[in-house]
Symmetry: C2
Subunit: 210 residues, 2 copies
DNA sequence: GCAGAAATGGACCCGCAAGTCCAAAGCACG
DNA sequence: CGTGCTTTGGACTTGCGGGTCCATTTCTGC
């Protein structure tokens, strides 16, 4: 079913997705008309329906996937290298900085609340994003456990779940309060508890087997 | 500008709000047409615009306020009486139970993401809700500090902010995963850290390195 | 029971934006 | 170069749904 796309066609398609994503980030899903996308990307209605035969729904899905990928990309290379406390702090800083800059214009907002209802596939995209996100955090915790920086009895999955929840909620609250206070508090308290855990365990230890 | 409302009128108005709220919870804001509300509440278009002269926007605002109040009411009397560890646990249980039952049908979803864009006032409603919510938590922490159950050097505002973020994120994740794992993890880890704090106080120095 | 106001019903209007259609232009490759 | 595709442009259709309007009924106070 993949239609033959020439290089030119592919470029146009990408331009549409990127433009639509920008527009949506700026003004919200249900404020963006196909006409806006056309104007903003210099395309015609014929093109839109040529590249997205199922219309708006298909376009929105493509945008959602694009934005989901972007969310994780924006955290790299920190997110994939949570291998020391400075690395964790750098990641924390990047997150706060990114969302502070972004302010109210949140892709997640559109992704989950709005796109979610219309396109059934959007749900899957969000779930996938969260899954990848949490996985990266779990990896980080496990690695820190392997170096003895985090106590081995810490439940990596559980803490990662709580941390991810804190981040999501922090961003959500950023949307209504305009402040990053909640995000920072959630990040700091969770990370602190991870650090404290290593000490409290008492035995500063290397660990290879379990 | 409060129009004179007879008892009957007031009842009708309330019926509209409650019916619209239910409908929206069930199917999402932008899937609900005025016509659906009419059918579901047994009212006519004339009535809708009689009680909500500004149309859908005004109705949505009323629904938002209604739902926001409900969110807090559902946590009572626990939320206002976080005066012992059993009380905290009861509150935790109520939250999890409530959201588990509610599943995907989340008023917040509609409130923030969707209503938020359209109605400027909706933002204020959400902010108000969060403010009241967090305040109640702060009160709880302060009370526990006054009884010595929580260490006095705990920053109540900060922990409450983190906890609220965890809850919101947990609910958000419930929407895409269908599981309450994140919500429970966030609640438990934060509450645990509050309990642990009491014991550790004095012996364990807080790290404040930079 | 009789003003006057509130409550109700529902027909109608109207604009908007998604989606359709086709004709024309561009391009690829033999 | 010419055949058949992808690509592009834009006019047109269409349905949906919010909002308007007014006629009718019901209620309230006197």
């Amino acid at each position: 079913m993949t239609r033959a796309l020439t290089r030119k066609g592919e470029a146009t398609r990408a331009r549409i997705v990127a433009g639509a994503a920008a527009e949506i980030r700026e003004r919200g899903v249900d404020e963006v008309r196909l006409e806006d996308v056309m104007a903003h990307t210099g395309t015609s209605k014929g093109q839109l329906f040529h590249y997205f035969p199922d219309g708006k729904e298909e376009l929105l899905l493509a945008v959602a996937q694009h934005e989901a990928d972007q969310v994780l990309l924006d955290q790299e290379p920190m997110l994939s290298n949570l291998t020391s406390w400075p690395a964790w702090l750098a990641w924390r800083a990047r997150l706060v900085e990114r969302y502070r800059a972004q302010g109210v214009k949140c892709p997640l907002n559109g992704l989950l609340g709005q796109t979610g209802r219309r396109a059934p596939g959007a749900q899957a995209i969000v779930t996938g994003l969260m899954w990848r996100w949490q996985n990266a955090i779990v990896e980080g915790i496990r690695h820190m456990q392997s170096t003895g920086d985090i106590a081995p009895d810490v439940d990596a999955d559980r803490v990662a779940a709580a941390l991810l929840a804190g981040i999501q909620g922090g961003v959500l609250l950023l949307l209504s309060t305009g402040k990053t206070d909640h995000l920072e508090a959630a990040l700091d308290l969770t990370i602190d508890s991870l650090r404290a855990g290593a000490r409290v365990v008492g035995t500063q230890r290397r660990h290879s087997d379990d």
